[in-house]
């Protein structure tokens, strides 16, 4: 089975690379590959080369550590070990199961009926997950702030051991969790052993830290960290944390002797965890069968949302505009994906937090934090949400064969697809803006009240225009360049696909700026004309004017896109990889 596992991995990798290279013959992927490569180069590698030009690195010496960081760095392995202990304990409470126990349909179809033992299946899954973990650890090394090439390789190696151990450990947790309530006493007791050990370890650590804290309360957060680290380094806590510190030590060990010894001990911990998991192969069969059973009952591909049929209170009338029918369709999707009660609870909690934060006064950090978060949420909703929320033609073009049979005017189809997503994104943005406006006094004390209110009102008026404009651009791209736009939850992978998305993002923002320009010019003229008479309130009529112009542009665009929709060939639509 080991050779069969390697066969699947090597052949899949080779063929995937071949397919990706072959598709570079298509101009859009070729251009995308260039864009993706350029992005990576200028974002990461060019910066690394610039940072490597410093004298200290050229001389091969490690960068100097500031004196203030010496003490925290000395206890960093202990702190890291403590963090791993808490993660190890916390993982028992995660509601998810390990991904190593999830097999694809093909794997279920070929490997489950095959004469392959459970242990071999587990080893296969561990092997199969290595590519992703190697990539992840390589990225950690690449983004590491210190050192030159070789030290990054050391960091990557150390990170790989941590990632693999964590992955395998979480699989063991999933298997053991399934047996915590087993009827057989021995099975149950064995399953509870790691839980008990972790609870004891946490209690010891908490006791030691608490003792030290009481004797010498720290003056600042950094001192607090150092105190915790020193407590974690003292016996008997250091003994309890030994396996966790062993995993973290290679990240901080000096080359060569200390590093090699640290790596050896980390590998011992990895081997121990792997042994524990591989000995749990009896529970593996049940856990994997449970996962297969869930997949049988809910045959949903990974990443696709799960819909629950619930009464939404909106019954589509038998007559009316076709745009309303499309909006209703999208609304049903949203309301069956999102629980209304949970949403209402979230809004009530947000409202309560806002009121409490405002009542606590300006000096209170909660108000500033919430206000800043709300402002960021508003800007995210306005500028990025239309890219992410794809409940329009970017989803429905998957059903183009069906849409084309409907007796609906093409421009009405386009308009109808825009209605619901623009409504919900605008509602989200307005909610965040309302909170930010309410708390603006704490964040922007130096800004005049009139300007704050005028600015918020203007932004509220402009929000639907900006959102609708972006959605129109995205849907236009889907109609005019269908092969460039992934549909539904499809996410083509690879450097070329990333480059395509970057090009689309850049083009979208450029077109957005161009579409807002006429409205912005008219709005600016109105503001200049009125601001000397009515002050900051002039922002409101200016925003109205801009919004009206953008609305006209959107209306004209949807009419102009009608022929594009009519001409669209089902074969031109991008299919999933």
């Amino acid at each position: 089975m080991f050779s069969a596992s390697l066969y699947i991995i090597v052949c899949s990798f080779r063929n995937r690379a071949r397919v990706r290279l072959q598709r570079l013959r298509q101009p859009r992927y070729f251009v995308g590959a260039i864009a993706g490569a350029a992005y990576l180069y200028f974002s990461f590698f060019a910066r690394f080369r610039a940072s490597r030009s410093s004298v200290a690195r050229r001389s091969g010496r490690p960068p100097r550590v500031p004196a203030s960081m010496a003490a925290p760095l000395a206890v960093a392995p202990a702190l890291g070990g403590l963090a791993l202990l808490m993660a190890a304990a916390g993982s028992w409470l995660f509601p998810m199961d390990s991904s190593l126990l999830e097999f694809s349909e093909a794997e279920q179809q070929f490997l489950f009926p095959a004469p392959v033992s459970r242990r071999q299946l587990l080893v296969y899954r561990i092997l199969r997950s290595q590519l992703g973990m190697l990539f992840g650890s390589a990225m950690i090394g690449v983004f590491s702030p210190q050192g030159i090439g070789v030290s990054r390789l050391r960091i990557s190696s150390a990170a790989w051991i941590i990632l693999v151990t964590a992955r395998i450990y979480f699989t063991g947790v999933t298997l053991a969790r399934a047996r915590l309530g087993a009827s057989r006493g021995r099975t149950r007791h064995v399953a509870w052993l790691p839980v008990s050990a972790l609870a004891l370890a946490l209690a010891l650590v908490a006791g030691a830290v608490g003792d030290q804290w009481r004797h010498a309360p720290p003056a600042d957060p950094l001192a607090g960290l150092i105190l915790i680290g020193r407590a974690a380094d003292s016996p008997p806590v250091s003994l309890v944390l030994m396996p966790f510190k062993a995993l973290v030590k290679p990240l901080f060990a000096e080359w060569p002797g200390a590093y090699l010894v640290a790596i050896a001990w980390a590998l011992v911990v990895l081997a121990a965890v792997a042994t524990w998991v591989l000995l749990s192969d009896e529970a593996f069969q049940e856990a994997v069968s449970d996962a297969a059973e869930r997949r049988t009952q809910q045959p949903v591909r990974s990443g696709e949302p799960i819909y629950k049929v619930r009464s939404t209170g909106w019954v589509l009338p038998p007559t009316g505009r076709p745009e309303t029918a499309f909006a209703w369709k999208a609304a049903m999707q949203t309301l069956r994906m999102v629980d209304k009660r949970s949403l209402l609870r979230g809004v009530i909690i947000l409202a309560c937090l806002t009121i409490v934060a405002a009542l606590m006064g300006r000096a209170n950090g909660l108000a500033s934090l919430l206000g800043a978060f709300s402002m960021a949420g508003t800007m995210f909703s306005v500028l990025l949400a239309p890219q992410i929320v794809r409940m329009d033609l970017r989803q429905d073009l998957q059903h183009l064969e069906l849409l084309k049979t409907w007796p609906v005017k093409a421009s009405a189809v386009v308009r109808g697809e825009l209605v619901w997503p623009s409504l919900i994104i605008t509602a989200g943005a307005w909610t965040m803006l309302a909170v930010a406006t309410f708390l603006a006094g704490t964040m922007m004390e130096n800004v005049d009240l009139g300007l704050r209110l005028g600015g918020s009102a203007a932004l509220a008026i402009l929000t639907p225009a900006i959102i609708l404009s972006q959605l129109t651009i995205h849907n236009a791209a889907a109609l005019i360049f269908p092969a460039w736009v992934p549909l539904g939850n499809q996410r083509p992978r690879g450097l070329d696909a990333m480059g395509q998305r970057l090009i689309m993002l850049g083009a979208t923002w450029l077109l957005l700026a161009l579409s807002l320009l006429p409205g912005a010019i008219i709005g600016a003229i109105i503001w200049f004309a009125l601001q000397s008479f009515i002050g900051p309130a002039a922002l409101v009529p200016a925003a109205f004017a801009c919004t009206a112009i953008v609305a006209m542009e959107v209306l004209l665009a949807t009419e102009a896109l009608g022929p594009a929709y009519e001409r669209l060939d089902v074969l031109a639509v991008e299919r999933a990889e």
């Binding site: 050779s3 093909a106 489950f112």
Partner: protein, 249 residues
């Protein structure tokens, strides 16, 4: 007995409680026999086949392949088994030939090149050896899955709707393939909604409805039962009568 099912039951846990897909099912299939497993949608046929293939665990009962209990001796049982499912799920980045080589490796088949060549010819997959699943039609993918099942000398073959997506030539060839394998000594359990095919190739028929076996016997035996058939009934009429969908009842 090549295939033996004893008091097999399978229950699924659902949000609303539990759901029994199959209850107390027992039957056998001998070497060289082709047994048809038919029933309405949701009768439990696929659950039975997937449990026999080792994909689902039985909630109760015993499943044996050539005397090896699937739960107690899974490796020995699975060595003798080939499952050809209704939905062909292939590894998206393995070619047709690589799928065959993979299966050969899993089952210890040493002469995969010769066997693969013969199967590719038999199942009309010539020219598709280096194709990825994404380049194949549904029918072609179905043939690849069947080829993977037949590339080794399994003594028990499980077919779940093997003709879905095949063209008429493919259907005829598949039928001949199934009959040939039975003549070579394999025990075959075939689930299909194509009752004329079942009537043609199967020596015995098991009818399931709502998770239970409601009839088991050769076509002649079923046709001779007054409660199941009138004179001159074909399998479709027997099926409709047994499952309570006969308009004349």
């Amino acid at each position: 007995m090549a295939l033996s099912v004893e008091h097999f039951g399978r229950t699924y846990a659902t949000a609303a409680g539990s759901f029994t897909a199959v209850a107390d099912l027992s039957f056998t299939v001998s070497s060289g026999e082709i047994v048809g497993l038919i029933g309405p949608n949701g009768a439990g046929k696929t659950t039975t086949l997937r449990s026999l293939a080792g994909i689902l665990r039985p909630t109760s009962g015993r499943l044996c392949i050539d005397g090896f209990d699937l739960t107690e001796h899974p490796l020995e049982a699975k060595h003798r088994l080939a499952f050809m499912p209704d939905e062909p799920h292939l590894f998206e980045y393995l070619t047709v030939m690589e799928h065959l080589r993979l299966v050969a490796r899993l089952y210890g088949v040493t002469d995969v090149a010769d066997r693969a060549a013969a199967l590719i010819e038999e199942l009309q997959l010539a020219g598709k050896e280096q194709a990825l699943p994404g380049e194949l039609s549904r029918g072609m993918r179905q043939k690849v899955v069947i080829a993977c099942g037949l590339v080794r000398n399994a003594t028990t073959l499980l077919f779940d709707e093997p003709l879905t997506g095949l063209d008429p030539i493919g259907i005829r060839r598949m039928r001949n393939t199934i009959v040939a394998r039975a003549k070579a000594g394999a025990a075959i359990l075939l689930s299909s909604h194509l009752l004329h095919l079942v009537e043609e190739v199967c020596s015995r028929v098991i009818i399931m409805d709502r998770g239970q076996k409601v009839a088991d016997g050769t076509f002649a035996e079923l046709a001779s039962r007054a409660d199941l058939a009138t004179a001159g009934s074909n399998l479709e009429q027997i099926f409709l009568r047994v499952t309570g969908h006969d308009a004349h009842q």
